[in-house]
């Protein structure tokens, strides 16, 4: 019988991705409810040292596959290794981060092992009565939620976007670390990575920011985003944007919050000149404290904001920034 929760962890250049720790946190909760274990799968080259970090974040066991072919992510070697480990561990549940790597890998694995996969889940629970694994995700722009089950096939697979689940605090824990050998052959290299161009990350990823100052269509132009940047800088936050602002070229695509952008849950979110279409709300409504500034008193953003200000962001934001500078001096 299949048992345990397997988390397929992601590392890039030997750095564990935050979403993996978040999924171990979630896996812990699910496993404790069913009396099972959390198993973390780690793939790469020279990554054994990361196993301890996974244990300290809540994994009971780490299975790692080490091979030079796994150094830089490629679909086929990763899929081959993951499927081999899944076959060996026979987990009941498999969780994968919905990053641009996880979303390349997870469907490939699910198709290969012939099981269902539910994308971008925002809630994962075990039904108290039936014991079913309930995977809930937004559908159709985020307003309708659908709870998906996978009744006949195992494992039950789900992907979760970064920032949705919460990682456990790191503390010394006991756990098993197991090396798993996969035999690769040249046929497993189905693509050739010619060049890797790292985008200089001046700005922090918006999913990692504690405070986000977000601009929408009402920002008016690209230059006005500098005003938002100033506010973000004073608060030690980052700037983000609605889809409309990105489509209009006010902000870069990687700043986009919402259904087709990123899901964020910062401690504080400022929605400035954002009407709050459901696509946007789906990506930010879990934020801790939501401020909304909008000229239109009937803007939907006020439905989800903790503090709504009907007014002109172009006047209020500079005043707020100046006032904060004084306050924090």
């Amino acid at each position: 019988m299949s048992e345990n929760v397997l988390v397929i962890c992601e590392q890039r250049d030997g750095v564990l991705q935050k979403v993996s720790l978040e999924l171990i946190g979630k896996g812990r909760e699910l496993a404790e409810k069913t009396g099972q274990k959390v198993v973390a799968l780690l793939m790469g080259d020279g990554i054994e040292k990361l196993a301890r970090v996974l244990i300290n974040h809540g994994a009971d066991k780490v299975v790692y596959v080490e091979h030079e072919i796994l150094k830089d992510y490629m679909t086929e070697p990763a899929a081959k290794a993951a499927c081999a480990v899944i076959k060996d561990e026979n987990p009941d549940i498999v969780l994968v981060g919905a990053s641009s790597i996880g979303r390349d890998l997870a469907p490939r694995i699910a198709a290969r092992i012939e099981t269902g996969l539910t994308a971008d889940c925002t809630s994962l629970t075990i039904d108290d009565e039936t014991g079913e694994f309930l995977m809930t995700r937004p559908a159709f722009g985020g307003n309708i939620m659908a709870t998906i089950i996978c009744p006949q096939h195992r494992p039950q697979m789900a992907t979760v976007r970064p920032g949705v689940m919460i990682a456990c605090d790191e503390q010394p824990r006991d756990g098993e670390i197991k090396k798993f050998d996969v035999s690769f052959d040249p046929g497993d290299v189905t693509v050739e990575i010619l060049e890797t161009i790292k985008t200089t990350k001046k700005a922090k990823d918006i999913t990692e920011a504690k405070i986000l100052v977000s601009g929408g269509r009402g920002t008016g132009n690209k230059e006005n985003f500098a005003t938002l940047r100033e506010l973000a800088d004073v608060l030690g936050g980052e700037i983000s944007a609605s889809r409309a602002a990105v489509d209009l070229g006010y902000a870069e695509k990687d700043r986009q919050v919402g259904q087709t952008g990123k899901t964020v849950r910062p401690d504080v979110y400022f929605a400035c000149g954002i009407s709050g279409a459901i696509q946007h709300a789906a990506g930010m409504e879990e934020s801790g404290l939501i401020f909304a500034i909008n000229k239109n008193s009937s803007a939907p953003i006020f439905e989800i904001a903790d503090v709504g200000i009907v007014g002109d962001m172009h006047k209020i934001i500079p005043k707020l920034t100046a006032r904060l500078k004084k306050e924090m001096a």
Binding site: F140, P151, V268, I309, K319
Partner: protein, 264 residues
Amino acid sequence: MKIIVCIKQVPDTNEVKLDQETGVLIRDGVPSIINPDDLCGIEAALELKDKYGGHVTVITMGPPQADVALREALAMGCDAAHLISDRLFGGADTWATSKTLSGAIKKLGYDLIITGRQAIDGDTAQVGPQIAEHLGIPQVTYAQEIEKLENENAFVVLRQYEDRYQKIKIKAPALITALSTLNSPRYMSVGGIVAAYDELEVKTITYEDIKDFVEQKDIGLKGSPTRVKKSFTKTAKGKGELHEVPDDEAVEIIINKLKQHYVI
């Protein structure tokens, strides 16, 4: 070079409105469009054809109404269109959908398959990679640029990640998923529209046509490992406070709130 582009007809979610009373989506009268990423997939295929020659076939799985989406693709310049439509295909999840599409693709033959990265109504991004898996061919997802190599039946794809790009070489037969930043899709031409409705035809593919390539147990609701247990309207969290006050007062309200929550 034979290119197959997979598209999906989706409701234009930008046009979707909420019923203010019930919070339920109003779907009536919402126009259908070709999924934006898929439209870029069509454009990418047509650009490859313009440059290197070849034949572009566009396919979609859906109800008879999806014919319009295929005609639009023909009007843009695609050479052939197939509507994969059968009651037996109904209720399919991504697994069964990709199985069905891969069956049709096997029957049609291909060098390159292009799909959109994801559809705006479901956002799963699963069907592309799952087609590739069912066909046993390599994939590159999140394509930002696609170039064909001159003397080889291979492509160099600029693949986007959150923190990097990679130039990846992939040999045909292969599957590539297109980002909406890949290109600017061309408009339908007048001649193209005339051709799409008067000269070209949209052929329907039913299960009977592809039964040699996909088993009946793998299609439709029966072939779907996942089930929708329930769907519900999201309960909005209680509305917060709303202030319509002079700017300075608004600033003080924000400052006090930030202090209250120990942000400053």
